[in-house]
Symmetry: D2
Subunit: 296 residues, 4 copies
């Protein structure tokens, strides 16, 4: 068993850390919220009073799960500047969903210090984090990824190697942009069918077996009454929040601007999710975009 | 075996009629293009010199496959006014892709004459018509659909009952609108990934196994080099033409206007396919929308 | 002074008829709402109990102001079939805002009966109708327009000859589509400036004097607090209703479909106005689209 | 007369510097292109072999005109780090069009050194730069702007004070985003009218006098044949390039992402300009977006 440093114990980070503890690893944990640290300590982790303190003893791997690009830059490079403290023998697994450009920048800074670092953003939500069934999309060298598999396999069940550093982030935001496009498209299409007299269950079934088929139709129908056990069956409570989808679409557009790409559908998806949030729906599941189309 | 009237022997209608002939049915065929009629006659069909002439003898079923709403209105109601000629014992299977409102109008006119009529637009393209593997999306009464199954099963392999008359058309255009949204979304997302350094094969694979999954990724990848045996592998030749997709999106928007529906993604999809056609790509496969995003 | 038939005494038609009365013309009026007829009768008009009854005596000109394409078709061609009754000496001024295709159809039917008819949709709203300051956009022959000027000049102050029959409708819906694009663009741009720290008054002033200048900035600023005497200063009460703008955008898209035109901005504008209406804002002024962008 | 340092002698910077020379100021000029420096030297400016060398003698004001945010950051803060060299008595006028966030960052860095700096991006194009009729949109303190007026009035004719540092950039990109929305909207609307039988001259005239009125219709009609002396009359040569408009729209979206703003029209405008550029039109005038809609 290994010694693991873990920074960022929020809705995603906490259950990921718990799963590592349950697998028998020694954890040294830190978060700016003391209560989050104490909760993990009660499960057997060693509480640290600063990020740097984690490295007062030798650790095999550092895992971080932070809210956004500036947090990651601050932790590794500018304010806390953890890369000045981390021994080059430590493997770093950076799981935050951030801008690819920032992931590349941090990876380059790590490389200068001879520290092996992979970007490994996740999909699967809080439920996947608790169940240990997350999907990891990894950017970085194959050797580092191989070394990371032990830990990733405790927290998730699928691991994709997307390419060099930053590629994990690119894959993540590409996937979520396409998901947002599907979800809105599925919602407006089903409402068009309903308005023209069709039963959304029948129409969903037909499209699932035809060329309109997509993940939203299969597993996450946005129209109340079509599927059980989805947020649409529960007033759009739970699931993946509108504000988080809007954040990921923001990262996708940031990448589109940075790479001179045209993304008309993705841009419209961000605009619609953003207006949906401004209208007061930011905390609902992202399939609630259906409310924009249906008279209710 | 039955006697079948068949009107409309274009790229889709001709192979559909051939399959009915091959199954042993007697065919009485008409098209405004004499050459098309002669071709079917050479296969054993009885050539007719007018649509109405089909009914100079008793036929069990009439199948029509025409280009657009005005053709269907003209044939059944206004100019040719075939509904004045068709005996009420004849089953009518109307396979054209037309506006739901027109399908309902023609069905209502048939009902006044006690003629059983279903709308049964198809998907599957010319290849599916030749192979007899079309999908039929049917609107109309269950009894009429049951009666039609014998003929539909010769021409296709999937038959969906979408609802009352017109519902077949609604299901068809809903499906194709969602398909267009997917296809554009998939194309721009893959190009964003490419521009940020990813291999489109790798990114496609990751998204197929994640929440970005859709039919275009699975069977019809728009990026050259990712899949074999798709139009993208053959300079976008063959397949489903941009101009036909633009036509179907036009029908979807017509339905959206008629039913007071909001379809932001579908509307943008039509605008993009239409500008793609104006730029000279109307005869290419619809996955060629990828050219709009990739520097080539 | 002339004898004028007037059909359609709603929010626009009633004050237009009043102005003709005030100018000394004899009016024979009809509306399906008896109360509307009685109100004009109290002002001195002759009440008619049917549309056809207007022609029981000779009239010089018929003016109609109806809600939508089906009403106009029904009145002139199909149900009431007024064109069978109107003497060919009567000039017809059709002021409803309807689909250009319908305007052309009715004009063609009138021409068959040798009846001179122009389409003359208006802009300027209820206030303009009351004040007699409407703008007329006219389609039809120059001679008919010249004959109509006496009446148009009583109801409005600007008359544009857009072209042949139907062209008045095309000009009207083109103008309103561009207006909707401006209004949404102005609203989102001002909110972007506000969110980045600018005073909307200052930003509006700068853009008005620069290449961003448009009618909305000049006369109809959508941000509360920038201008007095606009709907934004009065909780978006009054003015031009969201639902009417959505109707006009629907006519524009119908024309775009009919003419195979690509209108990406106009299509998006319709989608946004339609979702704004679905969210419960249909009766507000159309500048209320600003609410979609501002945290309030 | 004053001593003026001028860095950045491209298409815009060179004529701006020439006008300052012509007004009698002493100029010390630098550009990374030696040829550009030599051209100004031939007009009487003192050529410098580095940016820092400008400050080997006292200068009253430094004016910079660079291509993008990274160039400005590099010159003032990171690589050249000119803020370490500039005496606090020097007024800095930064005329580049860059991200508001970068303008604020550089201004903050200048403030730490007690250097007065304003952001003063321009509109008016190369023609305006040559004629000395540019518009300046200024962000920064009123006192610094007052001091700058002497120089700005030589290079332009309008100066707007938009607010604090960065506000000049915000005003510029807001204006250009709204301009792009207008231009595309105007182009697609005019083509819709043409496709429905209208003369674009007549339709333009009607909309200019109605609520569709905007700067593009007034001074920069995108349809060939409507106006003389605009790029549309000259195969879209000259004017304001598509790639520059796409750059400004990119800055606008960067600001929208940074401020959590929803900009559906502006986002679509960027997507359309970007695909227009990918299709090979990047060097044409931005009114060439009309080609996207017209069959030509």
């Amino acid at each position: 068993m290994a010694t693991v440093g873990f920074i960022g114990l929020g809705h995603m980070g906490a259950p990921m850390a718990s799963n590592l503890l349950a697998a028998g690893h020694d954890l040294r944990v830190f978060d700016i919220m003391t209560a989050s640290v104490e909760k993990l300590a009660a499960e057997g982790a060693q509480p640290m009073d600063s990020a740097a303190h984690i490295f007062s003893e030798s650790v095999d791997v550092l895992i971080t799960m932070l809210p956004s690009s500036p947090h990651v830059e601050s932790l590794y490079v500018t304010e806390t500047a953890l890369l000045d403290v981390i021994p080059s023998s430590t493997l770093v697994i950076e799981c935050s969903t951030i801008a690819p450009d920032m992931a590349k920048k941090v990876a380059a800074a790590a490389k200068e210090k001879n520290i092996a670092l992979i970007d490994a953003p996740v999909s699967g939500g809080t439920a996947g984090a608790v169940a240990g069934t997350l999907t990891f999309m990894v950017g970085g060298e194959a050797a580092a990824l191989e070394q990371a598999q032990t830990y990733l396999s405790v927290m998730g069940k699928n691991v994709f190697h997307a390419g060099d550093n930053g590629a994990g982030q690119v894959a993540k935001i590409c996937n979520n942009m396409l998901l947002a496009i599907h979800m809105i498209g599925t919602a407006e299409t089903l409402q068009l069918g309903i308005n023209d007299g069709l039963d959304p269950k029948v129409l969903s079934e037909i499209m699932k077996q035809s060329s309109g088929n997509n993940w939203s139709l299969q597993l996450y129908n946005p129209v109340p009454g079509v599927m059980d056990n989805v947020p649409a069956a529960n007033e759009y409570d739970g699931g993946f929040m509108v504000d988080l989808m809007a954040k990921d679409l923001g990262l996708a557009l940031e990448a589109a601007l940075s790479t001179q790409s045209a993304t008309p559908m993705g841009s419209l998806a961000r605009s619609l999710y953003k207006t949906h949030s401004i209208a007061g729906n930011g905390k609902l599941d992202f399939s609630s975009i259906y409310k924009m189309f249906g008279d209710s």
